[in-house]
């Protein structure tokens, strides 16, 4: 295979207006024709900046390249230097010889231009010899190639009418319409559901093989790597620490960091022996429904209901973790919030330790709240940014009469911080001083401070890097074992389910379609949807032997 793109000792520095920060620090790699090179790393490792440096798309006057070269080769092994190239030379390369797809399909298309207009623009720029009719024909075939249903009709649509997966298909069509030699994909499937992700990955693989183009694929997900990569580069702190064929990296990682990353994947975490605990159910939901009214017309009458949760029954026992799994929009978050009475259920009953709490209000409900707690998904907003951690932890204790005075409560809070493996001086700090993983630990501490019986965890690790996630998962498992908590863990990540959950409930379109012991369901799914879902999950072991 011939070389296509050669990055040599690339150094990229970014400015925040005052200081220069080195984002890429001497990275070298090579992408060959017809091969997929996966750049893997955790957030902030410089993998996206590397891609943007190649395209010259970093914010103007906010970046510089003190050293390095980026060379793009053509069929006859002639090369041009992209780093520091003139803007017009770069413009010819972009979209013509290198196509690029980005992470956020929802915002990456111009909202006020039709699909056809946006695709047409590329052709006008790079294929000036084509006339309007030929371009229309080309656009239609490009959309058909990425399997957009009804391409003729879609051409006149605006992006907001398409789903996330379809928008990403349009992006791919746009990047490939001029048949570039190299495609750069920056986390193209991260924002998509697993089933959609599987389809997009299959499509990309197929297109790449058919055209024999090079693919520089950036991701943080080793499962995706296993599915798509020929060769893999692992990045950390702006450096490429390891670069080798995919089988080598995944099976026999050489570098310590790679070994540690792979060991942190939830499916590789060591399993703990589990005790079988059978008590009275802690939380019992019976035929729970949450409907949102849809209003329309002159008088805003309720014309229909959106059934977010539709007759769900669910038990959680003390000392067990129940995983609630489903794709975005399936109602799993709504169900969780309804269980905690943060959203009013439309129908059905909720019982906590045998007591019906469906219709409790005011003080009665407030008193019970200390027995059921919650940790949310977004580490950025899970803690009140205006309060020091001490206040966040002590206020609930004071309200529920835990501890004699504030000194005792502070001592309890400090002890709890140790439990979640945070330094005690965190008490006097504000949330913005902590990283995402630390904030999630603090949010867990806030939930535990009331000594609850039941904890709801809503996607609490999905915004975190794998190594941070591993730490939190271990902590959660330990807390469940030691305290006998009951936990409902909402997630879309099957690896996490496998590690953490005793039982699993699969949710689809507001209903639970399958439930059972984790091992049983994963090994032998009964429901059609569960099977699709599980098949779509990219795994390390997918690696073709």
């Amino acid at each position: 295979m011939t070389r296509l793109l050669e990055i040599g000792d690339l150094v990229t520095e970014l400015s925040d207006g005052r200081d220069w920060m080195r984002a890429v620090d001497g990275t070298s790699l090579e992408v060959r024709r017809g091969e997929t090179f996966c750049l893997v790393g955790e957030s902030g490792s410089g993998k996206s900046v590397t891609a943007l440096s190649v395209m010259g798309l970093l914010p103007y006057a906010r970046h510089r390249h003190p050293a390095g070269s980026v060379r793009l080769f053509d069929d006859s092994e002639d090369s041009i230097e992209l780093l520091g190239a003139r803007e017009d030379a770069l413009a010819r390369v972009r979209g013509g010889r290198i196509g690029m797809i980005f992470q956020e399909p929802m915002t990456s298309l111009n909202p006020v231009m039709t699909i056809a207009e946006q695709l047409d623009e590329v052709l006008v720029l790079h294929r000036p010899e084509m006339d309007a009719e030929a371009r229309q024909e080309r656009i239609r075939s490009a959309l058909a190639e990425v399997r957009i249903p009804d391409p003729q009709g879609r051409m006149r649509e605006y992006p907001h009418r398409l789903s996330g997966g379809q928008r990403q298909r349009v992006m791919i069509a746009m990047a490939l319409i001029c048949e570039p030699a190299l495609l750069i994909a920056d986390e193209p499937t991260t924002a998509l559901d697993v089933t959609v992700q599987a389809e997009i990955l299959r499509l990309m693989r197929e297109l790449q093989e058919r055209r024999g183009m090079g693919l520089l694929f950036i991701t943080h997900d080793f499962g995706v790597v296993a599915k798509i990569a020929d060769r893999v580069g692992v990045m950390r702190h702006g450096r490429l620490v390891e670069s080798a064929p995919v089988a080598e990296v995944l099976r026999r990682p050489q570098h310590e960091y790679t070994q540690q990353l792979i060991a942190s994947l939830p499916e590789r975490l060591p399993r703990l022996a589990r005790r079988e605990m059978r008590h009275r159910p802690l939380v019992e939901a019976r035929d729970l429904s949450v409907h949102f009214p849809v209003r329309r017309g002159l008088l805003r009458r309720v014309v229909d209901h959106f059934r977010a949760v539709d007759g769900v029954s669910l038990d959680v026992h003390p000392g067990e973790v129940v995983a609630l799994v489903g794709e975005s929009g399936c109602g799993k978050t709504t169900l969780g919030r309804a269980l905690l009475r943060l959203i009013e259920p439309t129908a059905g009953t909720i019982a906590l330790e045998g007591q019906d709490i469906t219709h409790l209000t005011g003080d009665a409900m407030r008193g019970l709240r200390r027995r059921m707690q919650v940790v949310f998904q977004d580490p950025g907003s899970s803690l009140n940014p205006r309060l020091p951690i001490a206040t966040t932890l002590i206020e609930p204790m004071r309200v529920h009469g835990i501890g004699e005075d504030d000194d005792e409560r502070r001592a309890r809070a400090a002890a709890l911080l140790e439990r979640v493996e945070m330094p005690v001086d965190s008490l006097w700090r504000y949330p913005h001083e902590f990283s995402g993983g630390q904030r999630q630990r603090l949010a867990i501490a806030r939930a535990l401070v009331l000594e609850p019986r039941f904890v709801l965890c809503d996607e609490i690790t999905s915004a975190l890097d794998v190594s941070v996630q591993a730490g939190i998962l271990k902590l959660l498992r330990r807390l469940v074992e030691e305290e006998g908590l009951g936990m409902l863990f909402i997630t879309h990540n099957m690896g996490v389910v496998e590690y953490l959950a005793d039982r699993i409930a699969v949710m689809h379109a507001g209903r639970i379609v399958e439930r059972g012991r984790t091992a049983d369901v994963l090994a032998d799914p009964q429901d059609e949807y569960t099977r699709t879902l599980l098949a779509a999950v990219p795994r390390l072991d997918d690696l073709a032997a």
């Binding site: 943060l342 940790v375 998904q377 803690l383 940014p385 205006r386 020091p388 206020e395 006097w428």
Partner: protein, 398 residues
């Protein structure tokens, strides 16, 4: 774990401090704040800067302090507010508590001043000048500008409108005189109080009304929201100036009335902001967590929601002070402002009222309005950048 481990280790800076620091690195904000501080000093010490009553006087062998003797309740209140402000800056404690404490103590001081201070009913500005010409004065220390705002120089025969430094009889009027013969500089200095007072108090009133209505709309939504939004829409659909004109024309023109009127005609914007913030915050994870912790409504609203929604409100308020000052100036300019009390807008109005154009009545008072409004807008702009997470240069790279 020992008790000693729980003692504070250098607590980090709260949000207010960080915003203040981010504000003060900006040149525009510094210039704006400097001008406002200067204005505040002028307002507090107005009777000592421009006064027809001498500061110190020995007449017929008798020592007098006419300026202090003639200080009225308003003067004492301003002085007390200044001193109390200095004290509060030094006191320890939470910023908001200190601010409330300041308001309360100023209120008490004002009440005391109102009931105890009784300056002579009749101020005879001419007598000092008469005594001086009669040779009865032994020593006299005058204020830098020896004219009061309402001293129409009746003792001089042909006083009227005079250009700067063009007066007869050896009088020096740096900024000239206005229609009735009063010194423009003196009137402007005393008018600084009107501008500052109206700016702050009217905005304060609007903020309180807007926050309450907006908060109710945002937290309870539903019917409260629909009715509230109609109310907001009504107040937005009447051009504020029309409403102000109507209010003022029908309710009289005391300065307190103006404050209240400007306050109750300009709350709708704040209500909108607070509502939007509350709607956004209610869905935030930490608020949901606070509800899940069973915290009382009072704490959720005032400890968890309001402080986080205060940033856009602060920005809007500093622009609001500017527009309140403008509103007062506009009303005075249209002849619907204060009657006898000095105001920049009223001076500006006189610039083109007679057939000739009196430039000093346009340039100086107009310049003062412009600079003050500009200062508040500069501060508002810098504050917006300082509280905006997008423009903040965060020290932490995630």
């Amino acid at each position: 774990m020992t008790e000693t481990g729980v003692t504070p280790v250098q607590p980090s800076q709260p949000w207010s401090r960080r915003v203040l620091a981010a504000l003060l690195v900006r040149t525009g904000a510094r210039l704006g704040l400097a001008w406002i501080a200067l204005l505040a000093l002028v307002a507090v010490f107005a009777p000592f800067i421009a006064n027809s009553h001498p500061l110190y006087l020995v007449v017929d062998g008798e020592v007098r302090f006419p300026a202090i003797r003639h200080l009225d309740a308003t003067d004492w209140t301003w002085l007390a507010a200044f001193v109390l402000g200095l004290v509060m800056l030094r006191l320890p404690g939470h910023g908001l508590l200190r601010l409330l404490g300041w308001f309360a103590s100023v209120g008490v001081a004002a009440a005391i001043a109102w009931f105890t201070v009784a300056p002579p009913q009749l101020a005879i500005y001419e007598q000092y000048r008469e005594w001086e010409t009669a040779g009865r004065v032994e020593t006299m220390v005058r204020a830098p500008i020896p004219y009061s705002a309402k001293d129409y120089l009746r003792d001089y025969g042909d006083t009227g409108i005079e250009a700067p430094l063009k007066a007869h009889d050896g009088r020096t009027h740096w900024f000239g005189t206005e229609d009735n013969g009063a010194d423009v500089a003196a009137r402007m200095i005393h008018a600084a109080r009107v501008a500052l007072g109206i700016g702050f108090i009217a905005t304060g009133i609007a903020l309180v009304i807007g926050t309450i209505i907006g908060g109710l709309m945002g937290y309870f939504s539903g019917v409260v929201d629909i009715i509230g939004m109609r109310l907001v829409e009504i107040f937005e659909a009447i051009p504020t100036l029309f409403l102000l004109l109507t209010f003022v024309a029908f309710f009289g023109r005391s300065i307190y009335m103006m404050m209240i009127i400007i306050g109750i005609t300009s709350w709708s914007g704040y209500a909108r902001y607070v509502r939007a913030e509350f709607l956004r915050l209610r869905e935030q994870d930490f608020v949901q967590a606070a509800i899940a912790c069973g915290l009382p409504l009072r704490s959720i609203l005032f400890r968890h929601m309001l402080p986080n929604g205060v940033a856009p409100l602060l920005v809007a308020a500093s622009f609001g002070v500017a527009s309140a000052i403008l509103a007062e100036a506009t009303l005075s300019f249209l002849g619907l402002g204060l009657v006898d009390d000095p105001s920049w807008g009223q001076l500006l109005n006189q610039a083109v009222q007679s057939s000739t154009f009196n430039w000093w009545l346009a340039v100086f008072p107009g310049g003062a309005i412009f600079l003050t409004v500009f200062a508040y807008n500069l501060v508002g702009e810098a504050l917006r950048d300082a509280v905006d997470p997008h423009t903040q240069r965060s020290g932490r790279a995630s």
